[in-house]
């Protein structure tokens, strides 16, 4: 589904990613771990096409199509969704209007007519219940005045609405207590199908207790240093990252 | 002179002089001490105004003459002394820096009439530990017009702190014009504080201009405790990136005094920061005016500017005019401004009364706490404490009670 080949990327002239290779297949859940500044968030921003990040070399294809040639909204239409670590607030724009605009933009891309008002509200209600989001929240402005937990739950709600093929969860677990984490993770699990995949960026093992990963990658200084099974995450949890620094990157 | 004749004196129709009638201030028939009669008065003997806890070098300016008892400092690293002297010793430097301020007709008037002033020059990389203090004294048995000047040259990486105190030693009506020019070269750091503690019949028309180059840092503070008509026109210009300025103003006005602060911060370079806070407490029939404009030119991307003006009218006949302006031609900026005019909080007064604090004491406490955050911005701790003390005394015992000066109360000489 997703093929990342030798990606180099920089932000404000500083090289952050120094040759990333990553393949994600349908049905897989990948976990990306690594200390702060190792390039995890940069990689996810490069995938969604944040203009602040400049790709200096390499390719990314999504279902065989050149992702780097697409504007961010088309990448979204193609089925890539990013759950932000700190979702931005958009004052005055209600969640309902925001989501209607997003859903209709995607339908237009797919050559479908705009969704009817009634159908849309039905869809909102359905997806809202799926992730346990208060009805009140969808009437409020996008993320404005939401608590940390509400924001993350709202991200998963939007994911449910847009039904992506590939979800990138950027530290969705940070700032959440155990209960909130469980609700968010359960919401995510309900949305999983054999056709979808996910990249999950995290610092903690506890997220992985809820979302069972297939493959774990560890990033250090802009490179993937080690790739392994779930046990790699446990070793990082108990031993930290230092032991990896002595080893050489896997191919 | 030509500039003065060409544009005439500013009138209330000029936007920047909207709140202050300059012609009326200049109307009395002021005497000029043109023949440079020595004033039979040594400020060093009678006048001590020092900041406890800070080694300070005091330089006196009496009327428009630099006192002869001042000791000129000129050790190659630092020059502090009369302008006339500086012009003789360093003619090139003088020519390079003097009167480069783009001023209005009031600046021209000062340039035309000025006879002497103080020059402070801090050489490249030199750090001055002691507080440099300038004391301006208004004197004379007849109404006098004094024209003062300050020239501050901060060379690359230089650091200094300057305190300028204006006092009055006369009961006579008098007027001073004052032009302060400051140059902050790359990476220099200047703290400049001005304290106005004269009397009802002392009037001052001040023009201050600072030019800031790359990475320089200016902390400018003006504290007005007592004055007649005071007009301060301050212009701070960023000519190099990554420079910053903190501007703080506190005005305590009473009687019929008229305090007008006109500030322009011009961002001409990217990545500069300006942080402006002015507070006024207006009592009696005093008038306060504040016009603060932050100008962000097209090349000044990533400007970060914050401007706050808060005012208390504590008597029914006090008046406040305020104009916090933003003029922005760049798009990647973060600029906020806020302005409030209000009174002491009744709920807080009542809460204090309920705890046994008298209304008078309560008012004092609230006014002091209102002024508090301006003084908190003063970096030099001894000076800050001294000013907090002076402000408290000013609130508690009224005007002219700085508690330390012999001259307090405006004795005539």
């Amino acid at each position: 589904m997703l093929e990342i080949r030798n990606i180099h990327a920089s932000v404000e002239g500083k090289e952050i990613l120094k040759g990333i290779n990553l393949t994600v297949k349908a049905g897989e859940v990948h976990v990306l771990m690594g200390p702060n500044g190792s390039g995890k968030s940069t990689l996810s921003n490069v995938i969604v096409g944040n203009p602040q990040y400049t790709v200096t070399a390499g390719t990314i294809t999504f279902n065989g199509r050149d992702l780097l040639a697409m504007p961010p909204e088309d990448r979204s239409h193609e089925g890539i969704f990013m759950s932000y670590q700190q979702p931005v607030e958009i004052p005055g724009v209600s969640m309902n209007n925001f989501m209607r605009a997003a859903v209709n933009a995607k339908r237009k891309y797919q050559g479908l007519p705009p969704i009817g008002g009634g159908d849309f509200l039905k869809m909102v209600k359905e997806k809202r219940e799926l992730v346990g989001l208060d009805a009140d929240l969808t009437r409020r402005s996008v993320n404005e005045g939401f608590s940390g937990g509400e924001k993350k739950r709202n991200e998963i709600f939007q994911m449910a609405m847009l039904e992506p093929q590939l979800a990138i969860l950027d530290e969705t677990d940070s700032g959440l207590d155990v209960d909130a984490l469980r609700i968010v993770a359960e919401g995510f699990n309900r949305l999983r199908t054999p056709q979808t995949a996910a990249i999950c960026i995290t610092h903690y093992q506890r997220m992985l207790d809820y979302i069972k990963p297939d493959i774990v990658h560890v990033m250090l200084d802009g490179r993937i240093m080690r790739t392994g099974g779930p046990d790699l995450a446990y070793r990082i949890e108990s031993e930290g990252f230092d032991w990896l620094k002595e080893t050489t990157p896997n191919s | 002179m030509d500039a003065l004749i060409a544009s005439g004196l500013p009138t209330k129709k000029d936007e920047r002089y909207k709140y202050t009638d300059i012609a009326a201030a200049l109307e009395p028939d002021f005497g000029l001490n043109l023949s440079r009669l020595p004033l039979s008065f040594d400020p060093r003997q009678t006048y001590r105004c020092r900041v406890p806890g800070l080694g300070s070098r005091v330089h006196y300016v009496v009327g428009d003459s630099v006192a002869e008892s001042n000791v000129i400092v000129d050790d190659g690293r630092l020059f502090v002394g009369p302008m006339v002297e500086f012009a003789q010793r360093y003619p090139d430097l003088f020519r390079a820096y003097y009167n480069k301020v783009e001023g209005d007709s009031l600046t021209a008037l000062n340039t035309m009439l000025v006879q002497d002033g103080i020059v402070i020059r801090v050489a490249k990389g030199c750090k001055v530990d002691d507080l440099l203090q300038i004391v301006n004294l208004s004197v004379g048995n007849v109404p006098m017009l004094a024209n003062r000047r300050q020239l501050i040259i901060m060379e690359q990486g230089a650091e200094a702190s300057i305190l300028c105190c204006n006092h009055s030693a006369t009961g006579c009506n008098n007027l001073a014009t004052e032009v302060v020019e400051g140059y902050l070269a790359n990476g220099s750091h200047l703290q400049y504080y001005s304290v106005e503690e004269t009397s009802d019949n002392c009037n001052l028309l001040n023009t201050t201009a600072f030019m800031q180059h790359e990475g320089s840092n200016l902390e400018y503070g003006s504290i007005t405790l007592n004055s007649g008509l005071l007009r301060r026109s301050v212009k701070i210009e960023f000519d190099g990136s990554n420079a910053q300025t903190t501007v703080s103003g506190l005005v305590l006005a009473h009687g019929t005094s008229h305090i007008d602060n006109n500030l322009l911060v011009a961002h001409n370079a990217p990545l500069c920061r300006s942080d402006i806070l002015y507070k006024y407490v207006l009592d009696g029939s005093s008038t306060g005016a504040f016009a603060g404009k932050v100008l962000v030119n097209a090349q000044a991307q990533k400007t970060d500017s914050q401007e706050t003006n808060a005012n208390l009218c504590v008597s029914p006949s006090a008046r406040m005019f305020t104009q916090p302006m933003l003029e922005i031609y760049a798009d990647d900026v973060k600029c906020n401004h806020g302005s409030t005019v209000g009174q002491l909080d009744d709920t807080a007064l009542f809460y204090m009364a309920q705890r046994g604090i008298t209304p008078e004491e309560g008012r004092l406490l609230l006014q002091q706490s209102f002024a508090w955050d301006v003084l908190q911005r003063i970096d030099l701790l001894p000076l800050r404490q001294r000013l907090i003390h002076m402000v408290e005394e000013r609130f508690r015992r009224g005007i002219g009670a700085c508690g330390d000066c012999v001259m307090c109360g405006g004795n005539e000489i």
Binding site: E73, A101, K106 | P316, R319, D331
Partner: protein, 493 residues
């Protein structure tokens, strides 16, 4: 898209600008002209012209005197230059001060209006046929210098409400007009007010009697059609004790390469316990992408909150005009009166706007609120200018102002010029302002959710302006939202 038709008596519109016109056409959908016979008086302004206008309208002597006094005063004045706009010196002799699209039919005494005019207003979405009208909205349709039709007049008259053109009111209720005309905006007030007082053409007159709540929205739709004419409308609204009215004003003009002058006066008098809501959706032709053409919108609009507990609320959405110079103001004279000003001003391409309000507090315990949202794009200049004045008699009064500016390009300017004068010790004035550019993070977030940039900007801007748009009556709020999006088209690269 309608192709402009050129009227026989007009000078031919130059065709050398077709490309630009076509591009601009896409954005400004009201740029067509109407082919009706229009009676236009010769260009130029003199005492004779003032007399001629008065004579054409069959005005009484007192009104002619009013005009002449204003004209003589205007002759002593100079065009002001203090606003943050580059307004060229206008050649006041090159403008015609009176254009009547009712043509000769009017003179023959027929009551029906020219079907072409009716069609024009249909096209603008303002049906003049009462059966087709927006439910609950009465319209006074003004084209050029005259009122074409006022709907629902009879129905309103049942309640004692007078809603008609001001020319008609001069004949019908001269005592009311004479009492209030110029009582809020004196002809000496400013240059354009003096000009308007001398040559004002038509506009609406509203009188709400004591204790009457107007059962429908009243609205005036202004349309400039004839070429080389200025529009100098005059609106007077008097709401008597305990009355209520909500009033809307909409404006459009054809696209022309020449600048057109619009110098209006709106006066509102609000008596004790009465309430007036005045909303404007101003969409005069803004000029093309190169800044050519467009309306100079130089208006004086002011309300007097005369009685105790009176209320006045201004809401404006300003998207059109090449130059806007407009400060809907409130004089809070009655104790406990309440005034509000909500404004969204959008400038794009080469538009310039200097707009804001004046809140003059004279009565005790008066309250005012100012919410201003400026949005600048392209090469435009957008300034907020506002005065809050607390007089020495206005004890216990409060004002809250919030002025935000949003920048959508690095070639535009956003400025804030607030003036706050406080002359007593028991009033509270709070002002806050922010200027920022449209957030990259917000845009990226929308893009990531699949919303394309242009749509994302419209979405964010509408959210930003929501506080103000929500104050508009329903029917207009939707229109205004669309207008905001259209005005900003092409503002993101």
């Amino acid at each position: 898209m309608l192709k402009s038709r050129v009227k026989s008596q007009e000078p031919r519109v130059k065709n050398d600008n077709t490309f630009v016109r076509d591009v601009a056409n896409r954005d400004y959908e009201y740029g067509f002209t109407t082919d009706v016979e229009t009676e236009v008086i010769e260009c130029g302004l003199s005492e004779e012209v003032v007399r001629l206008i008065s004579q054409k309208k069959g005005e009484p002597d007192w009104l002619l005197d009013f005009r002449l006094k204003a004209f003589r005063h205007w002759q002593t004045m100079e065009q002001p230059s203090w606003a943050h706009v580059e307004l060229p010196l206008i050649d006041y002799q090159a403008i015609s001060y009176y254009a009547d699209p009712r043509g000769r039919k009017h003179k023959s005494g027929r009551q029906e209006i020219d079907p072409e005019l009716e069609k024009t207003f249909d096209k603008l979405g303002i049906p003049l046929n009462e059966r087709l009208a927006l439910s609950g909205v009465a319209v006074d349709a003004v084209m050029d210098s005259v009122s074409v039709k006022t709907t629902f007049k009879e129905k309103l008259a049942e309640k004692g409400i007078i809603f008609c053109s001001i020319s008609e009111a001069v004949g019908k209720c001269p005592q009311l007009v004479r009492q209030y005309l110029g009582s809020v905006v004196n002809y000496r007030d400013n240059f354009f007010a003096a000009l308007n007082s001398a040559v004002f053409s038509d506009g609406s007159f509203v009188y709400i009697p004591k204790g009457v709540r107007c059962p429908m929205e009243l609205s005036t739709y202004f349309r400039i059609n004839a070429i080389n004419t200025g529009q100098f409308e005059r609106t007077l609204i008097v709401c008597d004790e305990g009355g209520y009215v909500s009033y809307l004003e909409g404006c459009t003009a054809p696209m022309r390469d020449e600048n057109q002058l619009h110098a209006a006066i709106v006066e509102i008098v609000v008596q004790k316990d009465a309430e007036v809501k005045y909303s404007t959706v101003q969409n005069w032709y803004p000029g093309d992408k190169e800044g050519k053409g467009g309306v100079y919108n130089l208006v004086t609009t002011r309300g007097l909150l005369k009685g105790e507990r009176s209320r006045l609320s201004w809401t404006q959405v300003e998207t059109g005009s090449a130059i806007t110079w407009k400060y809907p103001s409130c004089i809070l004279q009655g104790d406990d009166s309440i005034a509000e000003f909500y404004s969204v001003a959008v400038t794009n391409n080469h538009q310039q706007a200097d707009t804001g309000t004046k809140m003059v507090h004279l009565g005790r315990n008066t309250r005012s609120t100012i919410v201003s949202k400026g949005i600048s794009a392209g090469h435009s200049q957008n300034s907020y200018r506002g005065l809050v004045k607390m007089s020495d008699k206005a004890g216990g009064s409060r004002n809250y102002s919030s002025c935000d500016s949003l920048l959508l390009s690095d070639t535009c300017g956003a400025h804030t010029f607030p003036y706050i004068d406080v002359n007593n010790d028991s009033s509270v004035v709070e002002h806050e302002a922010t200027t920022s550019k449209i957030s990259e993070e917000q845009l990226m977030y929308c893009n990531q959710r699949g919303i394309p940039p242009e749509e994302a900007v419209a979405l964010i801007v509408n959210g930003y302006a929501k506080d103000v748009l929500s104050k508009l009556p329903m029917e207009f709020a939707v229109e205004a939202q669309k207008l905001l999006s259209v005005s900003l088209e092409g503002s993101v690269g």
